[in-house]
Symmetry: C2
Subunit: 221 residues, 2 copies
DNA sequence: TGCTCACTCGACACCGTGTCGAATAATTTC
DNA sequence: GAAATTATTCGACACGGTGTCGAGTGAGCA
């Protein structure tokens, strides 16, 4: 069962990171093509409804060639996750200390960013969330991401509590942060399932913002 | 693709409801055995990791006999869901109007009940939640259940708002109820994944209760 | 030119699904 | 209680998807 970290077989050249400007080998191109096809297909079907030959015929190669590039469908999803993870971390940075603006604004902005990201990459994010229960690899990856969110949120809550602005515990800053973050995730998940509607998006953002504000700072007065 | 409502083939005698004392036909017994085996296997594996022959060998029959009793693995899950649905509705009743006790108590009691139910039937409930994205049948069923929860919660919030006890909207009572209910579900889901720990359970109940209280009534003072 | 190694392919063995028709057990009908 | 009917079970089969293997192919480099 080992660990299969790499989407490419052992001995393959190091992946060309996003920054690298090295010449794209042919293999990189087809890997990309597989990834693109996968992301497109995920808009319609769930990961385990997608057969390997759908991926490969979309990329113009034969089915068995797939296994040269990825060791499983889940590995594809993992690679796809990494693609959007960066955007996610940017979004996480927004939780961090605001300037002098009121908390309401920074919370709303952060939540807005998350919703937008789910709108842009809903299918991949949904597949990744589902795969948490299936694939150990994906699970580790996303629990790392979630942790970043929870940590910075908890830290922020603690700061506000010490400043006497936020409602003191219990619950622990960390426990509170955990439920708030996963509440956001759940709502984004189901929102990304519905047809895009700016009005609905706004309503969800406002509702989540209100719950965050009241849970952390108490009722505004 | 039709609709396949019944776990038993068309023309089968009406299911013996829980109240009925009619003689158990042999078929009912094996259906039960399949259901029991399924519930037990779900403690270890996810629904689509369970092969039909695991179900049938557990019930002491041959694989093809399975299809006489259920039309698919999902139909099994649907039947399993109905089993626990009743308990769920009891839990839903707790959201309804308390007597004169403080809101904190009735909310905590309701959340406690939900957590207990997830502790008792976690594997089935998790599988059902996952299958919402896969099976139209399961999706309809559970959105009905969720609706009951959301409706009664929203109604309760409206009552409290009119009485001037709860923080007025926006957000809508319904929007607020939606996020609170799904927050509970998400937390119960992940809680039921961890090893049973009374301390952890209590912490989650307390955290959820606090968020509900603050979201609906504002900060206690 | 010829070597090497990344890359591709078709063929194969395997496994799980769902269906069918025949065989058997239970129940009803006369 | 024998015959007819219906409920239940089974083995066999066709199908479709997976993952592996060894044999190519071709582009770049010595």
């Amino acid at each position: 069962m080992m660990f299969g970290m790499s989407p490419r077989p052992a001995g393959a050249p190091p992946a060309n990171g996003a920054g690298s400007r090295r010449k794209r080998s042919k293999g990189d191109l087809t890997s990309q093509a597989i990834l693109d096809t996968a992301e497109q297909l995920l808009e319609t079907k769930s990961l385990d409804e997608i057969a390997v030959d759908e991926l490969t015929s979309g990329a113009g190669i034969s089915r068995s060639t797939f296994y040269f590039h990825f060791e499983s469908r889940e590995a594809v999803l993992y690679a796809l996750s990494e693609r959007v993870a960066e955007g996610l971390y940017d979004s996480a940075a927004l939780w961090l200390r605001r300037g002098s603006e009121p908390p309401e604004d920074s919370i709303r902005r952060a939540i807005s960013g998350t919703v937008a990201l789910w709108r842009a990459h809903g299918p991949v994010l949904r597949a990744a969330v589902r795969a948490r229960d299936t694939s150990e690899l994906v699970r580790r990856f996303w629990s790392g991401v979630a942790r970043k969110f929870v940590d910075s949120t908890a830290q922020q809550i603690d700061i506000e509590r010490e400043a006497g602005v936020a409602v003191p515990g219990p619950p622990t800053a960390r426990a509170l942060a955990t439920v708030l973050v996963s509440m956001n995730e759940t709502m984004c998940y189901s929102l990304s399932l519905a047809r895009k509607s700016a009005a609905r998006d706004r309503e969800v953002v406002e509702t989540l913002t209100a719950v965050w504000l009241r849970a952390v700072y108490g009722v505004p007065r």
